[in-house]
Symmetry: C2
Subunit: 240 residues, 2 copies
DNA sequence: TGGAAAATGCTTGTATACAATCATCGAGAC
DNA sequence: GTCTCGATGATTGTATACAAGCATTTTCCA
């Protein structure tokens, strides 16, 4: 019943509609997914989204396809889109991939890191500790993204960003307590300041393993989120 | 003048049209790009493609968006799609990313490799040496894809596959002689058989660096490929 | 009363129509 | 003769219409 209002709050964030609204809609959905306001398994009817964002289904569909290629939503033929529920094996794969990539990337990060970078990471960590649960999850992802960005390799940054987003999804399904303890990140900053590669790599691997170990793969994780409360009303009934 | 016929030959490969033609069209375009039958800079008019493949622009557009997200084609607003011409800095980044990822991945490959895997790699190498120039490029990409697949990590395989495809694009623009000497791959197979990690990693890094070093970054690389000869005529004028 | 089959409603898949934007070509003025 | 401005053609961007598919519910029969 009235799916539309569920997404309206989401659409509220979208200011510049009209020209190139794809990016805005993508951002809104991406944040909602990463911040766990949209739970895995949630259905994403094109009609409701198009109405909420004030665009046609064509535009919504394009954004959904992009999210699907990034594995954040699953597109089943004739069944529509829903937030991806990673399987346990997919989850383990993502952590393995992250351990490998982030470990290797740190060797590129360390020689390039500047005091400004450390300051930026500290700032994110600071906000992490203060933020609400939801924002903390996004900020934790932002911390890792920012870290790998120091390596200055667009290809690797993008690949890892996708893995990081998917991690948020995994935590949404299998996470018990909070996601990987943001408090831990301060330890990494100290190690980065020291500048020794091996300890940094060891810490990162352990960090990711700790998060993975904190998961409970027995949970099912099928939920129907409350879209109405999520995105609020973007415009009344509208339409001509 | 009649762009349509340019793509018809491409469409000829697409047998199962109708239900879920996306994958077939994607494959056809992907192969044409990787095999250098479609050169960087080539424009991809939606109308011509839709006519050649016998589908609507909607379907073509979806495939083009996917290729764009994989960085194989570039989508400029109101200007349409064209095969991506990687910049020199993008090219260098791809090689750096590949050195890093493939190097790290080999540590995962080596413990898992089986005699069957070695046989499969040998088979690809065999076909590489016999194939025409065009197919050799695709087979070289396939060799690397197959190699990383042994690590059994879907996430990493997909990420690396994209980098490998982009490498083909880079060679198309900046390559002088043939792409990285397929003959070299036999050396890697021998090293893999030995089973020592360090030499394998060293070889791979050197292999990629050799390919990169063989490039000429002074070339511009703007060309308009002959679509008609490329894809042939898929169906006459058709349409109702 | 329980199960199965059919019908209805809703959602997606595809194609097409119309509007907007850009590139090209031509004409005119300096 | 060259440069600039205007018009025309082609291509893309968006929205909508229609058809096809799935899910649910209702109804009928055992």
């Amino acid at each position: 019943m009235n799916d539309t209002r569920q997404f309206h709050l989401l659409a509220g964030q979208v200011s510049d509609r009209g020209a190139r609204s794809d990016e805005a809609i993508y951002q809104a959905l991406w944040e909602a997914i990463v911040e766990h306001r949209l739970s895995p398994g949630a259905r994403l009817p094109e009609d409701a989204l198009s109405h909420a964002f004030g665009v046609s289904r064509t535009t919504v569909r394009r954004v959904l396809q992009r999210l699907a290629l990034e594995q954040l939503v699953t597109l089943r033929p004739n069944r529509g889109a829903q937030i991806t529920s990673p399987t346990p094996s997919e989850a383990r794969d993502v952590f393995r991939a992250r351990r490998l990539m982030e470990g290797a990337l740190l060797a590129e990060v360390l020689p390039r890191i500047t005091p400004a970078d450390l300051k930026a990471l500290e700032a994110i960590h600071e906000r992490e500790t203060r933020a609400e649960r939801e924002h903390a999850i996004r900020l934790s992802a932002e911390f890792h993204s920012r870290l790998v960005a120091i390596a200055d390799s667009p290809s690797l940054s993008e690949a890892l960003s996708q893995l990081i987003s998917r991690t948020s999804l995994i935590i949404a399904v299998y996470g018990r307590a909070r996601a990987g303890c943001p408090c831990e990140h301060i330890e990494l900053i100290e190690l980065l300041r020291d500048g020794a590669l091996a300890p940094v790599q060891r810490w990162m691997s352990a960090h990711l393993t700790r998060i993975e170990a904190s998961l409970d793969f027995t949970a099912s994780g099928d939920a129907l989120p409350d879209f109405e409360h999520l995105f609020g009303h973007h415009r009344e009934q509208s339409a001509s």
